[in-house]
Amino acid sequence: MKTGTVQLWVNGAGVTVPAGASVAAAVAHAAAAAAAGMAGAGGAGGAGGAPRFRRSRGGSPRAPLCGMGICFECRVEIDGATHQRACMILAREQMRVRTDD
């Protein structure tokens, strides 16, 4: 572990974020890494925009809206606990996060 960073798992893939980053940021970093991987090394995939965090009752993709714990669109499963707001919880070492909970 590098000083000042946290390593955790998002849908089984390892991701490293700065200490103090939110779980929401970790989910976005993991999605960006996956998008860059799919585009190939040096590809133009980039960060790939906002990733899906969950699906609504009707099945439409959703991601953080308010960024401050009000809207509940960012909820994910963290270490087995469902419906946790990813924007309100800091990423911790070895935390296990699942989207689409």
């Binding site: 103090g20 929401a24 940021a25 980039g46 991601a63 308010c66």
Partner: protein, 438 residues
């Protein structure tokens, strides 16, 4: 378990920090003060810690560190990452990282701040559509935005602050689209001469956005995408223009967070526009004699007004009424600025008509506008019937997002605040009662 305090403050933004500082300083060493906040660090939304630029040290940083110097540490007890779930008698039920606790108070100060006004339009549920303050908050907490194409839109001075923060983090901000007309904006800017410090801050923000187009009289008509946002349609005086982008940061101003005040039974009023605020007297006292309120929850006015109101509330809560009254002039001056802002950024009526029959209004329960239109016209809309028939407002956010949107559209909230104020762990609610019954 019950912890007892002389003063309990809910919210650690500018108002809450000022209240804690005032109560502690004026009380000498005597008063026991506690502060509850949902975030990991004090500062609220406006002084939120920036993971990239504020360093990794624990506790408050930047402006929040300056302001809370006197109260962070031993002078007050901090309950961070903690939310108020229920209230009864003179006790709050709070839930934090270590579980549920009861806080007993002699005096309570509500500094619960505001949230963004988010209004429905076609495509607003797509990943990549965020509040303007919302994206700012996500990015400060480490969300990767460098190189991403962002359109900033909506209304008010906060759009400039959001755009500047995004540029600082390496985003490619394609433009800021302010719905107010050029005429209103010039009138706002020329009026700023009365607040020279604020005018200088605005000029500084504008300078940092030198390469970002700022357009007045334009608003987002629709967001277009599939699994995520791909483009936005902007209504301009010259017709609709489509702009390809990765993110839309959109905010139409702020709405007071009155839920806890409402649950306690404090009198609310809606005298500056359609959204309720907590009614207070000259000492920031609510309709309940031992409950005070300060900052945005008493009406949107910005961080400076919140600081003055917080100080008044903190002083009044410990009985230092003369010192509190001495701050009345400062409060009046800060309030005039708030009126100046709200007057010039009034929303264009076309923005209230953007949602189509199939546009989702209640995001939690996927309720479209068409399903809600059956419950009466504006003025005679039956929110309760709509809620029972459609589940509008009954999802995880408990009507916070759709409620404010419906009020803005001239309808009513489908739900009033009720305990638990946030979805909670069941064991919190069964925490054995001590003195009062929840």
């Amino acid at each position: 378990m019950t912890d007892s305090y002389d003063v309990v403050i809910c919210g650690a933004g500018p108002a809450g920090i000022a209240a804690a500082d005032a109560a502690r300083t004026a009380a000498g060493t005597g008063a026991r003060v506690a502060i509850v906040d949902a975030n990991a660090r004090p500062g609220g939304q406006v002084w939120r810690h920036d993971v990239r630029f504020d360093g990794a040290r624990a506790g408050p940083t930047g402006e929040a560190r300056q302001r809370s110097r006197g109260v962070f540490g031993a002078a007050a007890t901090w309950y961070l990452q903690t939310q108020v779930v229920a209230a009864a008698g003179d006790e709050l039920l709070i839930e934090g990282p270590t579980g549920a606790t009861r806080l007993r108070y002699r005096k309570l100060i509500l500094a619960t701040g505001a949230r963004e006004l988010l209004l429905p339009f076609p495509g607003w549920t797509l990943p990549g559509v965020c509040g303007a303050g919302g994206l700012e908050s996500l990015v400060k907490q480490g969300w990767p935005i460098a190189g991403q194409r962002v359109v900033v839109a909506g209304s008010g001075p906060l759009l400039l602050a959001a755009a500047a923060l995004l540029v600082r983090h390496g985003a490619q901000v394609l433009g800021v689209h302010e719905q107010a007309s050029t005429r209103h904006l010039w009138s706002f800017v020329s009026g700023l001469a009365r607040w020279p410090m604020t005018a200088l801050q605005a000029l500084g923000l504008r300078a940092r956005l030198a390469r970002v187009p700022y357009r007045c009289g334009e608003f987002v008509r629709a967001a277009i995408g599939d699994e995520r946002l791909r483009a936005v349609d902007i209504e301009t005086p010259a017709g609709v223009r489509r702009i390809a982008c990765d993110y839309l940061a959109i905010g139409y101003g702020l709405v007071p967070n009155v839920e806890l005040a409402e649950l306690l039974g404090c009198r609310l009023v809606a005298d500056h526009g359609p959204h309720a605020r907590v009614a207070v007297d000259e000492h920031q006292c609510t309709s309940l004699p031992n409950v005070f309120a300060a900052g945005e929850v008493c009406g949107i006015g910005g961080a400076r007004l919140a600081g003055v109101e917080g100080r008044i509330a903190g002083l009044a809560a410990i009985g230092a009424l003369r010192a509190a009254a001495a701050l009345g002039t400062r409060r009046r001056r800060a309030r005039r600025f708030a009126q100046h802002v709200s007057h010039h950024f009034r929303l264009d009526a076309r923005i209230h008509a953007l949602a189509m029959p199939d546009t989702v209004i209640c995001r939690c329960e996927d309720v479209p506008l068409a399903a809600l239109a059956d419950f009466g016209p504006p003025g005679a809309w039956d929110g309760r019937a709509a809620k029972l028939a459609t589940r509008c407002g009954m999802g995880a956010c408990q009507g916070r997002i759709c409620g404010a949107a419906l009020v803005e559209l001239g309808l009513d909230r489908p739900t009033a605040a009720a305990a638990p104020l946030f979805p909670t762990r069941l064991d919190s609610l069964t925490e054995p009662p001590t003195a009062a019954t929840m």
